[in-house]
Amino acid sequence: MNTQTFFIYLIVMAGVTYLIRAIPLTVFTGKIENRFIKSFLAYVPYAVLGAMTFPAIIYSTADLISGIAGTVVGVFFAYKRKSLLTVAVAACLAVLLVSVIELAL
């Protein structure tokens, strides 16, 4: 990608992101009262993360078997309320283990 195109993308990306964070913190210091909007906003992060994670997670590694293994381990540790770091590392290790076994076979 040429440098100019990259910077245009970067400015749009960073500009939108900054305004999203800055407007509420600097301008709207009052409270949101509308129940629908409040609920909607509360659900958004989880819906986004859910849609981003599935089914992409099972395709995130070299092959489906290691992807599914990593997913199962990640789900297990996340369900057990382990920290972000622990869950991420455990999923990576599971993928690594399966990949090494596959290489050895």
Partner: protein
């Protein structure tokens, strides 16, 4: 005066301490981001600049996908808006917790780094949030985010494929660690997440639907699932985040 100075130091120290686990978590995720960005065709410097300018996880991954696919600027702006709109709520919530050290310049600077983790950790303390505490927690986390990106972008290529492959799942592991505890605690969140996941799977596997670009898929899934959730299972009071 003396008292004030020691409070300052204490707050910065406390912020730094709270920032360390966040930075460690960011290292693995931004490392994966660095690898992903370079493999999508960006230079290491471009990958690092994205992390310096954005400080988002999901937003950056989606943004690079759009760049790689030569997507439109409207698609880029809308994708960032929908993926990152949660930060508006966090900023709003944070605005209610800050103390009087938060003047306008501080607010504008802190706005740059309102992430899920920094927000959650700083707001979940039982005290008001001072700018010194924010300075500590943000600087440590920010360094972790950029360092991880640099390592991934520069060293990702010389890592054995098995290792860089395994790291590809790190970001999703982090996402699981955010959504599953919430789904366990509150069945309404579970239902909304299930709706989003089912829609997302449809956009992946159903013919015709799978032609829609990934940025718009996330927008559609998130808006539809959240709207259904807000309509059928409204949230009262100060629950959720």
């Amino acid at each position: 005066m003396e008292n004030e100075a020691s409070d300052k130091k204490k707050d910065i120290k406390r912020g730094v301490q709270d920032g360390i686990p966040i930075a460690l978590g960011y290292l693995s995720v931004s490392f994966a981001f660095g690898i992903m960005a370079v493999s999508a065709g960006l230079t290491p410097w471009q990958a690092i600049l994205i992390s310096v300018a954005n400080v988002t996880s999901a937003g950056q991954f989606a943004g690079v996908e759009i760049m790689a696919a030569c997507g439109g600027l409207v698609e880029m702006a809308l994708t960032q808006l929908v993926i990152n709109i949660r930060y508006a709520l966090m900023s709003l919530s944070l605005a209610q917790k800050v103390d009087d050290t938060f003047k306008k310049p501080t607010r504008m600077a802190v706005s740059f780094c309102v992430t899920d983790e920094i927000f959650a950790v700083s707001v979940s303390r039982n005290k008001t949030v001072s700018k010194y505490y924010m300075l500590g927690i943000i600087s440590v986390s920010y360094i972790g985010w950029i360092a991880g990106t640099a390592f991934g972008a520069l060293l990702g290529g010389i890592l054995p494929a098995v290792i860089s492959d395994a790291l590809g799942i790190a970001i999703y592991g982090m996402f699981l660690a955010i959504i599953l505890p919430a789904a366990r605690d509150d069945s309404r969140f579970l239902k909304v997440i299930i709706i989003a996941v089912v829609l997302s799977c449809m956009f992946r596997w159903v013919p015709v639907l799978n032609k829609v670009s990934s940025g718009f898929v996330i927008i559609i899934c998130a808006v539809a699932a959240s709207a259904v959730g807000a309509w059928l299972y409204p949230i009262d009071e100060e629950e959720g985040n």
